[in-house]
């Protein structure tokens, strides 16, 4: 197994004295779709900031592609090119009033020739379906559109690992679905995707692997069809079970489904399972 990102026993306390990470450890396999769940203040965002070297752990190690992260300019530059983070609040990420300029910022920092940058920007705008917004100023965009511009700004750097903090929070169902479809397309092209989310249904159906964080630590991990059945773990993170799991277990307990059948991952699988009985 090849891990692209690894956190080993990370400790981090913010300057104001808030301990954010208290021995967090996790390892993300390359090319996987990973969901990180946990209540607000569990340390998800802080962990992400460690993954591209913005924060430096006070204790513990961060590894990228098997190499320990070095905090010198050259290493960080490369790391930030390959590990892209899309933050939750688009207004604190967008610095330019022009959509085109905003998206071009990342690739320009890579020192690429202008033609190459222009190509990457066009590609990223197309992938996120914001090409029609290029002439609009960022302050006239809707919240969902701003989120896409942020995503495009990171995608334009062609990251190997894409980290998104609450990518669907505050989006209408259509935008949310489109974002998830985009993540799937990126995943098919080999990008590792890490999502932080509160949405258990989404994480359950989408992820290849799930981590649960609470109080600055990773308190649980595993395959979605296994961990999402662990009621105690979910409760400790202030989460509920996905409706699919709940419904599946009801069907099992009512003997509608055999006890040893494996839980459905999405609506279609549930229908299949039901029709098979």
């Amino acid at each position: 197994m090849k891990y692209i990102l690894e956190a080993r026993d990370l400790y981090f306390t913010y300057p104001d004295g808030t301990p954010a990470l208290k021995g967090a450890s996790l390892a993300v396999e390359e090319g996987k779709r990973v969901a990180i769940l946990g209540p607000n203040g569990a340390g998800k965002t802080t962990l992400f900031l460690h993954f591209n070297g913005i924060l430096r752990p006070q204790k513990g190690k961060v590894l990228y592609a098997g190499k320990e992260v070095q905090y010198d300019r050259r290493f960080l530059k490369q790391l930030r090119r390959e590990v892209g983070i899309v933050f939750q609040d688009p207004d604190s990420q967008l610095f330019s009033a022009s959509v085109f300029q905003e998206v071009s910022f990342g690739p320009m920092n890579l020192g690429l020739p202008k033609e190459e940058v222009a190509r990457l920007v066009e590609e990223a705008m197309e992938a996120t379906e914001i090409s029609a917004l290029r002439d609009k100023p960022t302050h006239l965009l809707s919240y969902g559109q701003k989120k896409r511009v942020c995503l495009a700004g990171v995608l334009a750097m062609k990251p190997r690992v894409l980290i998104c903090d609450e990518p669907t929070a505050g989006l209408d169902p259509k935008y949310a679905r489109q974002s998830m479809e985009l993540f799937d397309r990126l995943h098919q092209r080999g990008t590792t995707i890490i999502l932080a989310t509160h949405d258990v249904d989404l994480a359950y159906s989408w992820a290849d692997y799930a981590y649960f964080m609470e109080g600055g630590k990773v308190v649980g991990e595993g395959l979605p069809q296994e961990v999402f059945r662990d009621t105690r773990l979910l409760e400790s993170c202030n989460l509920t079970r996905p409706w699919l799991v709940e419904f599946f277990e009801l069907l099992c307990s009512q003997k509608v489904l055999p006890e040893d059948s494996s839980p459905p991952r999405n609506r279609e699988e549930l229908v299949q399972l039901f029709l098979a009985v």
Partner: protein, 260 residues
């Protein structure tokens, strides 16, 4: 101000090279200010009015309303040029005496006032042309090309961007305050406004920190490098700009006040 900003992005001259628009506005403005008589300023006003309402397709009533703002200021200023206290020599046109105070005006005074009025209105119309047709971001590109220090241009762009963020935040806070009777009495209003301002400051600090983090995450290393959109350079436009500029300068300087 917000309306002005919206037109800058949606007007019909949006895709015209910003350099051409800037040159057009600046050349016309210089000709207007350098002119000896009121003819050129009036021509510039007419030219800009056509360029804004026909060229950029900004609705006439919007433009008229915008022009009324500086017109009010200009008129108030010009009154003091047109009228003198005390009888102004033998050339005065008329004078009135109220309670022993004589106010008079002469043909020369009126002419001078009219000239100043025409020049200021003409020059303002040029600035309106620029602001209504060219987004700030593109003006910033021109400034960058003009070799202004990168720091200034970056600051300009960041301030411009965050004016809107701060305004939006302030609006949201204001609405949530007034929904809870925050502005129901004068005393409440004072207190609420005070809180709004202090919260705004804290939020802005928070925003700037978050922005810095987000920039770092995309490889920021001290300079906000961005790719600027390319615009087609139009020979036709340049011919028009230099042509009108030359005619205006000729009329204003060589004509020496002709026909007035």
């Amino acid at each position: 101000m917000l309306k002005l900003d919206c037109f800058a992005y949606t007007n019909a001259l949006r895709r015209v090279h910003p350099g051409e628009k800037l040159a057009f506005a600046l050349l016309s403005m210089t000709a207007c200010l350098a002119s000896a008589g009121p003819l050129v300023p009036l021509l510039v006003l007419a030219l800009m009015t056509v360029a804004i309402t026909r060229g950029a397709r900004v609705p006439g009533h919007v433009y008229l309303k915008l022009m009324l703002v500086p017109l009010g200021f200009a008129l108030a200023g010009v009154v003091t040029v047109a009228f003198n206290l005390g009888r102004a020599g033998s050339t005065y046109l008329f004078s009135i005496t109220v309670h022993g105070l004589t106010i008079s005006t002469s043909y020369a005074d009126l002419y001078r006032a009219g000239l100043i009025l025409a020049k200021s209105i003409g020059a303002t119309s040029c600035l309106y042309f620029l602001t209504l047709t060219t987004p700030v971001v593109e003006v910033a590109c021109l400034l960058r090309k003009a070799r202004l220090p990168a720091l200034w241009v970056e600051l300009l762009c960041l301030i411009y961007r965050f004016i809107f963020v701060v305004m939006e935040t302030a609006e949201k806070i204001y609405i949530s305050q007034s929904a809870r009777w925050g502005y129901s009495t004068l005393k409440n209003a004072y207190r609420s406004l005070g809180q709004l301002v202090s919260v705004l400051l804290v939020r802005s600090l928070h925003h700037s920190r978050a922005l810095y983090t987000a920039l770092l995450a995309r490889g920021y290393d001290g300079e906000l490098q961005v790719l600027e959109e390319r615009f087609e350079v139009s020979r036709k436009n340049w011919a028009f700009i230099t042509g009108t500029g030359a005619v205006l300068f000729f009329l204003g300087l060589a004509g020496r006040g002709w026909p007035f």
